[in-house]
Symmetry: C2
Subunit: 197 residues, 2 copies
DNA sequence: TAAGAAGTTGTACTGCGTTCAGGTTTGGGT
DNA sequence: ACCCAAACCTGAACGCAGTACAACTTCTTA
């Protein structure tokens, strides 16, 4: 990893940390992009070269963490049944972003209007999961694959929604496992029958 | 229904139709709020008194249709099991907004970035559904209720995602029924056990 | 029909997000 | 050690979404 790449990641993290600190202190609307950029020591233009929107600075995934998770998903040779394996991927994801979850959740509690942006976080790893599910269920059509993905995400989102950020991370991870297990037990029965429906 | 209320609804629908027509013709980004307001014969200020954001004009629910659906949900004395009854509510919702679905879907196909806004449509009737589910599952905790809601919505969203807007509405309705049945069969088994988990 | 409530309009303002030309830093090749 | 091209950062200017507000018009009701 060259100097250039390291500096970029460092800048990304500086801007992100600065943003979350300011937003935690003053609230999302009371902090402008200008404020964040100034405090992080970069220009407004540079801010937008790292984050496409102001919301993104609070909810985008760490590039390195995301890349690591992606390679793990791509190289996955797990031979468990579909839903336990899928559950592991979501737990991995939550673990990877564990550091930021409490503060993000607290921002969401103070500003429910950002729920949409939070869901966009899921969308950033959805394509990888879609491919992974397709690979695991060769007979599945588009409907079945999307249904599995969206249902699993519903479980993940629900666990995040109900989680209290002052609780330890293990509580969240167990809740994710619980939710995916509950929603998965029904869909598992459809895995074989989808092409004959 | 007084003159005032009738005029308001009429204005709402004029703005909405105008907006969808212009957006269909030129694309979402190439139409400004100013354009829509001018073409609809109102001021920019008035536009924002009807729709909180530019996205809302494409995805908000018709006030009358929403009100009718709400009373139907509130007065619901259906004694079917949970998931068939819930399925009926979603099918009702889709029927109620059937008129706009094809053009909205076409806008989404041309502009995938608006998916988040489309999901906000669901959020506008989510609170009603949450209350309805709570009423139907007295023993359920917050996790179970949210899980049922989010999972049902995942089914609904999935059906919308894979639906081809050139297909007749019945195809979509059947798909909604199919998706909710699939995701519901698993969760139905948890209805009784949630308080002992 | 007069008073007041509800709705509309123009204006001015903040702040997000984009574009672009010009300057600076970095890594690779000689 | 030097140079060059590519990548990066920056300031300035712009368009447009969304808000605030005071003046004005239209509807309701007593």
């Amino acid at each position: 990893m060259g100097l250039r790449e390291r500096k970029k990641l460092e800048a990304w993290r500086t801007i992100r940390s600065t943003a979350l600190r300011l937003i935690s202190e003053r609230g999302f609307d009371a902090v402008s992009v200008e404020d964040i950029a100034a405090e992080a020591g970069v220009s407004r233009t540079t801010f937008f070269s790292y984050f496409p929107t102001k919301e993104a600075v609070a909810f985008d995934l760490d590039p390195q963490a995301l890349a690591e998770w992606r390679t793990r998903v791509a190289d996955d040779t797990d031979d468990q049944p579909l839903w336990p394996a899928l559950t592991d991927l979501f737990v991995d994801m939550a673990t990877v972003i564990a550091e930021w979850l409490p503060v993000q959740k607290r921002v969401l509690q103070q500003h429910p209007g950002l729920t949409q942006s939070a869901r966009a976080t899921c969308d950033s790893f959805a394509p990888d999961l879609y491919r992974w599910i397709s690979r695991r269920t060769p007979g599945g059509d588009r409907l079945q694959t999307s249904l599995v993905l969206n249902t699993a995400m519903a479980g993940y989102i629900t666990a995040l929604e109900v989680w209290d950020p002052t609780d330890p991370l293990d509580v969240l991870l167990d809740s994710i496992r619980d939710c995916l297990h509950r929603v998965g037990t029904g869909l598992a029965a459809w895995e074989r029958t989808s092409s004959t429906a």
